[in-house]
């Protein structure tokens, strides 16, 4: 009985983990290249979620088609914030960049609140379900996981096979050295920031297929914190590490929830969150390069 429940929850966790993974790749990319932690991360996911909602409600478009739109919006937002603020903060102390990205997050949240209001909204898409025996999955989650794996593979190929990807990798290794070898470092910074933001916005769309309660402008905070844990799990600054970190985190989260629910006197939801932050601290202390880190 409990085994079956655990298996079912773990499958759900794997699907959710895929989303966590994609949702964290942008954060890790930005940290890896610019050495900036985007504290406004969740707000960009929220923007993606609202793009999906808007497309679905006004044009009746399938959220899958909203992905290219979100990608373009993300690139635009990324460049906008890069050139107005982030560019001047790359070599500044952490305090400046942390506070600046937080302020950007607040700005986005308040703008969306100004337009849409702060109540929860939701949409219903695809009611079909797949029965896996131990658990029932809505088709939308299957699409979401497929989408996130595709995004992860595309990013991997872009990194390893294109000249732009090579330039980014060289800047991650050594920005001064890359500059000396003729890589336009400023351009790489701008592009990586824009790409990181747009990945995050896209992940917001995939995320809407998972949240039953709907979305509101302040939904992002939770995901910022989760993204930190996932990013640390996968090794801060490594985008594919983040993807696998996400999968692991999804499994752990759902597994722990099931186990904590068996212990009387505990609130399983809060204990799961507690556990995830303990994990964060332990990894930061014993293996700050992440579970898959080599160094």
């Amino acid at each position: 009985m409990i085994g079956e429940q655990l298996a079912g929850n773990l499958i759900q966790g794997l699907f959710l983990g895929g989303i966590y993974g994609v949702a964290t790749m942008g954060l890790s990319l930005i940290f890896g290249v610019l050495n900036i932690v985007n504290v406004g991360h969740g707000a960009f996911m929220m923007v993606g979620a609202f793009i999906a909602l808007l497309m679905f409600n006004t044009f009746g478009l399938n959220p899958i088609y909203a992905i290219p739109v979100a990608f373009v919006v993300g690139i635009a937002l990324g460049y906008l914030f890069y050139y107005t603020s982030i560019r001047k903060l790359i070599k500044a102390p952490e305090l400046a960049s942390l506070l600046a990205t937080f302020a950007i997050g607040i700005l986005l949240e308040e703008l969306v609140k100004l337009i849409f209001g702060s109540e929860f909204r939701g949409y219903h898409w695809i009611v079909e379900r797949v029965d896996l025996g131990v658990t029932v999955l809505p088709m939308s989650k299957v699409y979401a996981l497929t989408g996130s794996i595709l995004v992860a593979i595309l990013l991997y190929v872009w990194f390893k096979k294109t000249r732009a990807g090579m330039a980014v990798r060289s800047v991650v290794e050594d920005d001064v050295g890359a500059g000396v070898c003729g890589v336009n470092v400023g351009w790489v910074y701008g592009m990586s920031f824009a790409l990181g933001i747009s990945l995050t916005v896209v992940s917001g769309i995939l995320l809407t297929m998972f949240i039953p309660v709907g979305i509101n402008p302040y939904m992002g905070g939770t995901y910022t914190l989760k993204a930190f844990v996932v990013a640390v799990l996968g090794g801060l600054g490594s985008p594919y590490g983040a993807f696998f970190g996400g999968l692991i985190f999804g499994l752990l989260e759902n597994g722990c929830y099931t186990l904590f629910a068996m212990i009387p006197g505990l609130e399983p939801f809060a204990m799961t969150r507690f556990f995830s932050f303990v994990m964060l601290l332990v990894i930061l202390l014993i293996k700050p390069t992440g579970l898959m880190g080599t160094k």
Partner: protein, 333 residues
């Protein structure tokens, strides 16, 4: 001898500001709440500045110390209210407990997180704050997510009239006192060996280490000082004043951000900075709440961005540089 006194001249403007605030609050009717808010922001800015401003480490989980302090007050009152001979002393025990608890937490956090640097430190401290909040909720410690409401117990311990004065007047006075103490400690550190060590560490930690400065020791001193002051402020401004405590409120990350903004606005690492920052932040927040309720943050966010990019030294940082060497410069630090 005169040098030793001249060292403390910069305290004059700080204490004058607090005195002026107190007099305005006491004599202008209807102003007390605003003044209390300003004192709170200045106090917390000063307490945070001792760590953030002097070391350059960004503690994103700073609010946890205020939260724990609030719990200290709440636990003292809700557990000891029936001990009759204690009377008003229960509040003093609350402050002591707040200081002890926030100190213990800061030692634990410091031992773990201060090994990390930069972004890793910031993320670790967020983790501590959130983790602590969910531990309280998840394991149902100290009332769990239902929190503790203790006005009734306070009234029973000290009498209804005293309880009312304690929470509407004395709680704010204690904040003033803590702010004054924080200012003194800041200056004491700044002008002493600790201050030089911390400046060296802030500018270049590795170089400071090589020069033989025991960086970990000084970081921990600044961290614990700052945290215990935060605990006292929490005990007073949230515990005694509000007389209830709920985990989602006292561990809300936005308060940490407010503290960072205050320190940065006024000038990180300066004595007068957090006071000025607290005043600017408190007044503009109050004013914006009155004219455009609900959308203060929409105005604030771009202002913060502009300040970070254009004036990273803050108001006092700029002033101190301009007036250095002049007679006025003695009072700005």
């Amino acid at each position: 001898m005169s040098d030793r006194i001249a060292k403390y001249y910069p305290l004059i403007p700080v204490y004058s500001v607090y005195l002026a605030l107190f007099l305005i609050g006491k004599n202008v009717p209807g102003m007390w709440q605003l003044i209390a808010m300003l004192a709170f922001y200045s106090a917390i800015g000063q307490a945070f500045n001792i760590f953030l401003g002097m070391t350059g480490y960004v503690d994103f989980g700073y609010v946890a110390f205020m939260g724990v302090g609030t719990y200290g007050m709440a636990l003292s009152i809700s557990h000891l209210y029936h001990v009759e001979w204690l009377g008003v002393w229960v509040v003093l025990i609350g402050f002591l407990l707040a200081a002890v608890m926030s100190t213990i937490l800061s030692i634990l956090v410091g031992a773990v997180a201060l090994r990390l640097r930069g972004a890793y430190f910031a993320i670790a401290t967020i983790g501590v704050n959130e983790g602590f909040r969910y531990l309280i909720e998840g394991a149902r410690i100290w009332g769990g997510s239902e929190g503790i409401i203790f006005y009734g117990q306070l009234a029973q311990a000290v009498g209804r009239k005293t309880a009312s004065i304690l929470s509407t007047f004395w709680a704010d006075i204690f904040v003033f006192v803590i702010a004054g103490v924080a200012a003194f400690i800041t200056l004491f550190y700044m002008k002493g060996k600790i201050g030089y060590a911390l400046t060296a560490l802030r500018e270049d930690e590795d170089a400071a280490k090589v020069m033989g400065i025991h960086v970990t020791k000084y970081k921990i001193i600044a961290f614990i000082t700052s945290a215990s002051l935060a605990g006292l402020i929490g005990a007073s401004a949230w515990g005694l004043k509000v007389t209830n405590v709920f985990p989602p409120e006292v561990f809300e990350i936005h308060y940490t951000i407010e503290c960072i903004i205050i320190v940065l606005l006024g000038g990180a690492g300066t004595l007068l900075g957090p006071v000025v920052g607290g005043l600017i932040y408190g007044l503009s927040k109050y004013w914006l709440t009155v004219i455009i309720p609900g959308f203060q943050l929409l105005i604030f966010a771009p202002i913060i961005l502009i300040v970070i990019i254009a004036f990273p030294e803050g108001v006092i940082g700029v002033l101190a540089r301009r007036y250095r060497g002049t007679p006025l410069g003695k009072f700005i630090a």
